[in-house]
Amino acid sequence: MHIPDGFISVPVAAAAAVVAAGGIAGALRSSRRLPDDAAAPLAGLVAVFVFAAQMVNFPIGAGTSGHLVGGALAAILVGPSLAVLAMTVVVVVQALVFADGGLLALGLNLTNLAIVAPVVGYLVFRTVMRIAAERRAAVPIAAGLAGMAAVLATASAFSLEFWLGGTDAVDASLVAAATIGVHSVIGIVEGVITALIVVAVLGLRTDLVAGVRRPRPDVVDQGSGLAGASDGQSGTPGGQRVVSTSDSAER
């Protein structure tokens, strides 16, 4: 998923660097007011975990492998702004220290992995949760779809970049079809892993999942096996959460 140098022309890579810089600046701006002192260290932890998880390539058959991108996971756990910053740290370290993703292609990889993946993942997660009236039972489905959509969006972004500036004469529509095709398989795995981790964290500490809000009062949440409707967690549209004292009983 990391684009090496040479695949995409330098002008398009430079344009992507501008897009990435804009996205990172936006993330810095909207993280100017963190909900609490725990948000920053948790974002740092997410960066470390995503770095580790991206080292684990899983085989998807036909001599091909994939690894977790983690953009949707990061956004669900710490919110989209801190997720963009965490993914930026990961992608920059990978390019500079591990030669994973080209140096000239850094703007492309930041755009695809650090901006598109967490933003699309978060939008899909929140949309599904809103449709499901914030039911806890919907969390695995929402997280799974978010992970899958984030990977497909990343593959689509690469396809667009190749169409704009691919250095090889190969038909860009063939590249798009093949890239999105193989990443729909990788995306399924991404969705499953994202859902498993989000559900596990939610089960241990509801207050650590920024994307999950309190279920609507008119909704009776059944069979989620998780914290239920009375966990005392509430949310505001700004992504800030308030954890009431009743929450401490869970720990």
Partner: protein
């Protein structure tokens, strides 16, 4: 913002971070050496459609840690583990600098109000 809830999530965040770091170390040392060395999705597409040879070497390709292998370590598993652990430390270090700055600025913003 009442002070009452501020401590709620704060309390135990050190434990959460510690547990997450241990989990990340386990992923790096146990799972990463087992990782598939098959080409990833993008590399596969590039090979199949014949544009893999348009790849140019990154300026950092000579890094002692390039491709998640610790230079000079012949054992593949330990080479991966070593490179991965260094990667965790570097990511944690860069993350600490970035997110400390974000937190300081956020705190300053609150005080300014």
């Amino acid at each position: 913002m009442s002070m009452e809830w501020l401590g709620q999530r704060q309390r135990g965040v050190a434990v959460v971070v510690l547990a997450g770091l241990v989990l990340s170390i386990l992923v790096t040392t146990v799972l990463a050496p087992l990782a598939s060395s098959d080409p990833d999705g993008l590399e596969r597409v590039a090979e199949d459609l014949g544009f893999a040879d348009s790849e140019a070497q990154s300026a950092t390709a000579d890094s002692a840690l390039a491709d998640y292998a610790l230079g000079g370590v012949s054992d593949e598993g330990w080479s991966t583990r070593g490179a991965g652990l260094i990667g965790l430390v570097v990511t944690a270090g860069v993350g600490f600098v970035v997110f400390s700055a974000v937190r300081r600025r956020s705190a300053g913003h609150d005080r300014a109000r």
